[in-house]
Amino acid sequence: MDDLLNVSGVSNDDSDEEHLTAAQVLEKLEQAWMNERLSPNLMECKSQIVEIMLEQIEEMEANIQRAQKGDLKISLHRLELDRIRYVVSSYLRCRLEKIEKFAPILLEREKSKSDDEPSKLSPEEFAFAKELVGNVDNHFKSSALKHMPRNLQNIALHEITSRPNLDHYVFLRVHQREEGVIVDPETDDHAEDRVDLEVGAQHLMRYQPIEQLVENGAVSLI
Amino acid sequence: MLITDPVNDFFNKVKHERVLVMVALDVDALCACKILQALFKCDHVQYTLVPVINKSQLIKEFEEHKEQYKHIVLLNCGGNIDLLHILDPSEDISFYVIDSHRPIDLVNFFCEQQIYMLLKHDEDEIAAIPDYDSIYRDYDSDDEDSENDETEQVSKRHRFDEATLEKRRERKKWEEKRKEIIFDYEEFSFYGPSAAMLVYELAWKMSKDNNDQLWWAITGVADQFQNKKIGRDKYVSSVLELQGHMSRLNHRDEDDDNTKSVNSVKISFEHDLDLALYRHWSLFESLCHSLPTASAFKVWTNMGIKRLHQFLAEMGLPLTQCKQNYSFMETKMRDNLQSLVEESAEKFGLRNIKYQSFSAQCGYNHRLCASDAVYSVGALLEKLYSKDSQAAGENSNFVDSLDSLSRVTAPKMQDGLELAKLQLQAIKSSVSSFIDIGQILSYGPFLYTAVREGMPDYKYFGKPIFLNLFSHFLLNSYVRSLNKTKRERAKNLPLVICAPFNVDDGTTIIIGIPPLADESRKNLFGNAFLHAAERTKSRTSHESFDSSIITLKNEDLSKFLDALITIMS
């Protein structure tokens, strides 16, 4: 039953083709869900994992229909499906919340980022953000700005809406060893503060220094 | 037909279907319903719960639901009526009847499909039912004879030979005998084992029983005893069985390492005082409102009150302590209360003041004994509601009562206890006024009294459970109030009470209870009311599942009673 699923370019970048069992994909999804809920900034979109999970759910639903009625297994399977559906919906809902809050800035970044960098927004999320910013713009214009003198009329949304606070403190657990992570930049009264992250340790620090580590799974937020 | 193996023939068949559960409105039925709900929850069975007050509502609900449901469970209703006749269900609908009303309807018992009766397997239960042949002849041989008689009456006359004459005479004799057997079988109506007990045994056979379900079974049996539906001997035999289950589930915590957690239900057995709600009331109030003590002391006379004070003094309990709420009495008095009462009970003519009873404790609050639960749930079931919200009132009472049974510490249970106190006070005051102004008349074969509209709390009397409790309380007190000679005669007289049922359409409710001396609780009024109604053509309705309670138009009351007197003397 747990056939191997090829999940390309999901996490570590050395082998692009990676064979994971359904359980491992679920594990990755739950990891992504936790990181998304705890990180102040929008993470890379794990849309491929979400697709695979939704396929798994449909497949399992089909199996359940075929099984004969009243079997204990059915209700247990259904219980597990509900749990997975909760994780997927909570993950996507959490991302939408962040997009709603930081839409203008995210769009700005999308425009200015280089092509090889993976995009943070999935196509649907990108369309949603675009539409949202468009609506906010028209709303401002139609309700207030068009009554104002000409030179005050243009307003750069991405400058005035709040931006994610990368200096937000987060708890994290280390999965892969990492030396010399700069925690505090050089300032006059105290020297640069570096720290080594050993496997299994739990730390509390600002998000900014470890943002990349969380993205590539070396470290996970708790 | 009789279900031999309830687990496979009933539960496993119902498990994967949608089930309609119809519940009569009495405490035993509610307890059975709670256990069944717990079992259904274990296997995710889809079910719908419908409370039914009387036969017409049973029919109405059945009509409404008969398309979607193929399996219908009847709790404490439908056992003593011919279901096939009054419901005339389609072929594929099957009924599972768990009912303590006796006598069981013969058609229900003998028909092969559709009706499945769940009964306890003790001999005298099954023996009481007349065997098949004495009631039904195998129709093939007789059938064509009787048909032929009507159709070819003329051509038959010349064949008067010996054989048909002999057969006809023998059939007539058989029919006489059949009528007689049926008459004896249906003469008395009484109660069999509690429905809650039956459902609990089903749970036990499927090893899914737990303490909560045992507590519901205990409450079901206690309801039967407290409302005088079964005699003391039947109650004691049920108690023995329950004790077996209780010690299995509540092993005394000898080995202290697996003491049960404090907030799970612990059930214990003891010889408790037969005083109504005394743990939730003051001792004095409870003495005045409990049936045995109130009638023994004749609390409605001030001489009786004096004797009650003497009784308390004899026990060495200061009056202030007795007037306080039980929980605030001094602990040493509370602990040896039972022994104190028992010693001085003999002197004051109090017989069997103690009875076997169970009580449950959950967490640190007070113990709740089975009879408290019965009083509370009964009171909730019959809480008065304003006239216009008739249906809503009934349902909300049903839901409240079920809710109060959900946990031993359910807050609804406390409200029920308060309501029960009000009802007991209403009973005591009406009993004292009835006896003081001598309203109980002897109509020859039975005693009779009537509740007038003008009386305080007359609305309570329209409710079956309350009326039944009141009638027993009244009969007991009345017999005690007579002098020696009259008492012997009155002991063997049953009592009939009528009370206003529905003031708007002018109907009264009539209840008949067996005499005091008759321990078997067999009630002959079911049949007597039927015959009296036929004879006088009075507009009666035998709606209630308990045949000894009927309602009829006010105008027909007097002629109905005269007919009743002639029938019964």
């Binding site: 039953m1 679920l26 499906l81 937000h168 403190y169 509390l204 620090m205 | 274990c42 390492d257 957690s261």
Partner: protein, 184 residues
């Protein structure tokens, strides 16, 4: 993150149950479980154990660390040591709470355990607060807290992170002012 979510994650922990029914292997998406045979203990995720227990089809075998003596020694160690002691399970509090509510009858002296666990929770909470205060006073940029359980982190997270963020902003303003002053 609500405590309910933390409990949701904690329900993936494995626990031993003794079923009273027979059933073959179940191929869940999150991994295979079973086969179940009456009387033979089998390891299942906690959420599955509770589902089966509620249907009275199994008895839960408490984890070996959920035992009065072990928890008592843990409590003493906690009092003795100035740092956080190692917890037997990262979801220590949630697993205990779930088992004590859903399988009370399968766990000996459930109430004593409940009070002991609550004591341990309070001791650690006090210790956590004093550490935080020291941490803030040191104006340190980061801290290492290895033996903190998931529920403890979740309960203190909103307050602690918000305070540290605010502290960081104040420090940044101060260093910004210092840089300005020195350049003038």
């Amino acid at each position: 993150m609500e405590p309910g979510d933390v409990e949701f994650i904690a329900e993936k922990e494995l626990v031993k149950i003794v079923p009273n029914f027979a059933l073959g292997k179940i191929y869940f998406i999150s991994g295979d479980v079973g086969p179940f045979s009456p009387g033979l203990p089998v390891d299942v995720p906690l959420w599955l154990a509770i589902a089966i227990k509620q249907r009275q089809k199994c008895r839960v075998h408490p984890p070996e660390w959920l035992d009065v003596d072990k928890i008592e020694t843990m409590k003493d160690d906690e009092i003795a040591s100035e740092f956080f002691t190692e917890l037997p399970n990262p979801h220590f509090c949630e697993v205990a709470q779930l088992l004590l509510t859903h399988a009370t009858d399968n766990i000996p002296n459930a109430d004593l355990l409940r009070t002991l666990i609550k004591d341990i929770w309070d001791i650690r909470a006090a210790k956590l607060r004093s550490n935080i205060d020291k941490f803030v006073k040191l104006q340190a940029g980061h801290a290492r807290l290895d033996n903190l359980s998931q529920m403890e982190i979740n309960t203190i997270r909103p307050f602690l992170t918000a305070s540290l963020d605010h502290m960081y902003q104040l420090r940044i303003s101060q260093s910004y002012t210092e840089r300005n002053m020195s350049t003038q």
